[in-house]
């Protein structure tokens, strides 16, 4: 009847967003509302000896000041509760009196106006005893280094979490026989790489409004990615039943992983609960950049070997990741790095060691790609260097080694859901101008370029390629699930289908896609489907996080299964026909702690990119002229939104590689403004962006769809660095590619990365 899936439906919230009517968390207000400001530690490592609120409390309009002693259970965290809600003495939680990064929260000041709260915050007297700071993960692993979280207990739920020193977690892979592998290798390439942190810089800073709702619950209106999990953590800290907390997500101004861990949620709920009145907070940009997590900075040491014919025989990779002050999702992020740092290739022999390390830097957590962009960067740099060493075309070398159906990965099991790495590589290369001749693949010659006012000999052009893959969902043994409810109303025909689900639309367009899939599954028109989403008050079950490229896959399958059940009821005469259902994703297993063997994920996405650059070798400036991206999305439920995700992912990755430069020195953030942390503008996007949507269905995906939101981010960095090498003959093994770094590397003939590897 209808064909709603596969068509470019206009976003459900489009009209509200172009007229300014869409309400984001900072846009809400209530009568009798008071305003809160958070006192941040602003120092990277210190013990809070005492807190004197007396002067602050005298400020006209101050309503309340909350400190550690007011938090019933002073801890939170998505994977492990290692972060105090408010740092300071008196909460009874061991270690909660220590601040471990500049963004740790020490007090919440509530007043009639924002200005009064701000003034009172400035009058808070905190006595600190500064502790030694460790901001380099290599230093943090040395004997005698300051200990960030002494006395940790082992986690049954997450055995990869470490209790030793400053290790957050460890993952490893031991596959095959390394000695035998090296014996077969005719060519060995060794490399060291560094990938920097990255600030999410979503345009909507953290904000929220908490109040007591009609049913007496503490309602928190906020932007997040996993309402059910926010609710659980708030209830835990306040020590009240989960049902007494309600989390509501209105329009969300971007997330990119940065809202998976919490920011304002618990303190807002605490204040509203204690005061029994509405409390509002809005972070400044500076508070946002200091206060939430970043992408993990990582260091890699790689040694890969291949036969003369280009067959990969052995890979050894060591990774150190700066996890910052708290765990956040480090263990999960590094699981992804573990499986991606040897690339999408069939290695018979592999040895991988990945360590997450606590430091006094801002915590590292989820950000688009979740550990895969870093792993793929190291892997694809190695692959492009191998191609050069072997004198082979980079496409040809990949076609020979890419994983295919039924081939075991380094974890000993094949990738699930159909492997289409060769398709994306081929389609991308052909579109970019590669020739497939009888003797093999041939890269096109880069065309010269002229730029007004610049000498022609200074302008070098180059082209580079890379391939990426990433899992859909968290998995690694975690049972992925998605709850929803479908209610069908009407008499003879279904007049209204109400889908209730917790899933967040963080701007990617999830709610539109969900509505499309529901219309398709129920065979009703889009207009008859209404979505009630992102409110734990109506969705008691967890629909999971809007992250890990999992939403379309998980919610789509939940919709399909629930729709079938609801239609059964409808046909049997139920009016309304109501179904509550939880879709369970196929089971996965954690990686074996010794060998890394396992079946970590139930689905994957695949992507290949070619990047063309022009490098000005006199100024060090570079310009991305063209990006070709082939992305296997299984099925594009909404092709226009898929294209938007591809273009947006490319732009964000370009920012990471070129202009974004997050600097923390001795734990202090030196780039806390958008004037010092530069994200791409409209004038920075590639001159040409070509997206190729490949639709090789995942047999278990809804209508064949696989996750896709993160994939376009993955290969951009190594493809761009390969293009710079093609243009200049120099391999630069770290970024961002500031003009200074480019010039220095050209002068030195490459990067001079020095790490204290043990």
């Amino acid at each position: 009847m209808t064909e709603t899936v596969g068509r470019p439906w206009v976003r459900a919230d489009a009209r509200a967003k172009v007229t300014g009517q869409a309400k984001f968390p900072g846009d809400f207000g209530m009568a009798d509302m008071v305003h809160a400001k958070i006192l941040f530690a602003d120092r990277p490592h210190a013990r809070v000896v005492s807190i004197d609120t007396s002067e602050a409390a005298q400020v006209e309009g101050v309503v309340a000041i909350f400190t550690a002693q007011d938090v019933p259970v002073n801890e939170y965290g998505l994977q492990t509760a290692d972060q105090p809600v408010l740092c300071g003495p008196g909460s009874g939680k061991p270690g909660a009196d220590v601040v471990r990064f500049v963004g740790d929260q020490v007090a919440l000041v509530v007043a009639d106006t924002r200005a009064a709260a701000e003034q009172a915050r400035g009058l808070m007297e905190i006595t600190y005893e500064d502790l030694p700071v460790v901001s380099d993960p290599f230093e943090a692993l040395k004997p005698g280094a300051p200990q960030i979280h002494p006395g940790r207990e082992a986690s049954e739920l997450h055995p990869e979490l470490s209790t030793e020193g400053n290790f957050i977690c460890h993952h490893q892979i031991r596959k095959g026989d390394m000695e035998a592998g090296w014996a077969q290798a005719d060519v060995v390439v060794e490399g060291q790489y560094h990938t920097p942190g990255q600030e999410h810089a979503y345009l909507q800073p953290e904000a929220g409004l908490a109040y007591i709702d009609d049913e007496g619950r503490v309602a928190v209106v906020v932007a997040g990615q996993w309402a059910w999990e926010d609710q659980r953590q708030i209830a835990h800290a306040l020590d009240i039943p989960v049902e007494e907390i309600r989390v509501i997500y209105p329009a969300i101004g971007g997330a990119f992983g940065g809202r998976e861990d919490m920011s304002v949620q618990i303190v807002l709920a605490l204040a509203a609960y204690r005061l029994q009145r509405p409390v509002k907070i809005t972070w400044t940009r500076e508070e946002s950049i200091r206060g939430h997590c970043k992408r993990h900075p990582m260091w890699f040491r790689c040694k890969w070997g291949a036969t003369r014919e280009g067959e990969l025989v052995a890979a050894e990779v060591q990774v150190v990741a700066d996890g910052g002050a708290y765990c956040y999702t480090t263990n999960k992020v590094l699981g992804n790095t573990t499986i991606t740092c040897t690339g999408p290739y069939a290695f018979p022999n592999a040895k991988v060691d990945v360590d997450g390390v606590y430091t006094n830097n801002p915590p590292s957590g989820a950000m688009r790609g979740f550990g895969a962009p870093q792993g793929i960067f190291a892997a694809e740099m190695q692959m492009n260097k191998l191609a050069e060493a072997l004198g082979m075309d980079p496409v040809a070398l990949r076609m020979r080694n890419l994983l295919q159906d039924e081939m075991p990965t380094t974890t000993g099991t094949p990738l699930a859901g159909g492997v289409h790495l060769q398709e994306v590589t081929e389609r991308c290369a052909l579109a970019a101008g590669w020739e497939r001749a009888e003797e093999g693949w041939r890269k096109p010659a880069a065309k010269g370029v002229a730029l007004a006012g610049r000498p022609k000999e200074a302008m070098r052009t180059g082209m580079g390629m890379a391939v990426g893959f990433k899992n859909v969902g968290f998995s690694f043994g975690y049972q992925e699930n998605c709850w929803l409810r479908i209610e069908l109303r009407g008499e003879d025909d279904i007049e209204r289908a109400i889908v209730t689900i917790g899933t967040a639309d963080v701007g990617q367009g999830a709610h539109t896609v969900l509505q499309q899939m529901a219309a398709e599954a129920l065979q009703v028109s889009m207009e008859r489907v209404s979505l009630e989403a992102s409110d734990t008050g109506t969705s008691p079950g967890s629909s999971g996080s809007a992250s890990a490229s999992r939403t379309t896959f998980m919610a789509g399958n939940a919709i399909r299964e629930a729709a079938a059940l609801a239609l059964d009821g409808w046909r049997e005469g139920e009016r309304p026909a109501v179904v509550e259902h939880t879709y369970l994703a196929p089971e996965t297993t954690p990686l074996d702690p010794d060998t890394g063997e396992g079946f970590p994920n139930f689905a994957y996405g695949y992507v290949a990119q070619v990047v063309e650059v022009v490098v000005d070798v006199e100024t060090g400036e570079l310009r991305v002229r063209r990006v070709v991206c082939a992305d296997d999305v299984g099925k594009a439920i909404n092709p226009e939104q898929v294209e938007g995700q591809i273009e947006g992912g490319v732009v964000q990755a370009m920012g990471w590689v070129t202009c974004e430069n997050f600097i923390a020195q001795a734990g202090r953030v030196l780039t806390p403004h958008l004037s010092t942390y530069l994200i791409p503008t409209i004038a920075d996007v590639p001159e040409r962006m070509e997206t190729i949507i490949v639709e090789k269905p995942d047999p278990r995906g809804p209508w064949g769809a696989r996750g896709m939101g993160e994939m376009p981010f993955l290969p951009l960095a190594p493809a761009l660095l390969a293009a710079v090498h093609d243009a200049t003959g120099v391999w630069i093994d770290e970024f961002p590619l500031t003009p200074e770094r480019v010039l220095r590397s050209l002068r030195d003939g490459g990067s001079l990365l020095e790490c204290d590897w043990e």
């Binding site: 919230d13 172009v18 345009l203 994200i679 791409p680 004038a683």
Partner: protein
């Protein structure tokens, strides 16, 4: 302790916002952005940085784009302020708004009000912009979702719509 350190007391200011005269009594230190959002409830204009770096608060004052976070409300006394809420033409969307919907020129939508206001201003000054004109005029409006290619397409489409309202393809 009182808040006297914040400066002189409140003063009455008359603003013309989206064609309507409004009177507010505000401290002179207040930005146009905070007055629009907090006094007038016009929350379509967004606070992304409050320090002139992101463009989410872009509005028109006497036809020129300004960052509302960098302008004092008292300085707008007697001048015409236009925000995203004032762009509609009767019941219809402004052609720029229509083109943004049509071209999917946003994802999260937080920067969209500012983008649209900047585009409206550009087209009022330059009805037939080229890509380079658009890049120059809109480089002060950040979009972290990276919807830039579609924003360019939307501005070009809006220019076509303005020229020939029935030309929408």
């Amino acid at each position: 302790m009182s808040l006297d350190w914040l400066g002189p007391g409140r003063v009455p200011v008359t603003l013309n916002v989206n064609g309507r005269e409004v009177e507010v009594t505000i401290e002179p230190r207040r930005t146009l952005l905070s007055v629009l959002r907090e006094e007038l409830g016009l929350t379509g204009t967004k606070e992304g940085c409050d320090e002139g770096n992101c463009g989410a608060c872009t509005v028109l004052v006497d036809g020129r784009t300004v960052y509302a976070c960098l302008v004092l409300a008292v300085d707008c006394s007697g001048r015409c302020v236009r925000t995203v809420e004032g762009l509609r033409r009767a019941e219809n969307l402004h052609p720029v708004q229509e083109a943004f919907v049509d071209q999917d020129a946003f994802q999260c939508g937080f920067c969209t009000s500012g983008q649209i206001v900047s585009a409206v201003s550009l087209l009022e000054q330059n009805p037939k912009p080229h890509r380079g004109d658009i890049e120059r005029a809109m480089a002060g409006n950040l979009c972290r979702c990276g919807a830039y290619p579609n924003i360019v397409a939307a501005v070009l489409e809006a220019a076509r719509l303005e020229e020939a309202p029935d030309a929408k393809d």
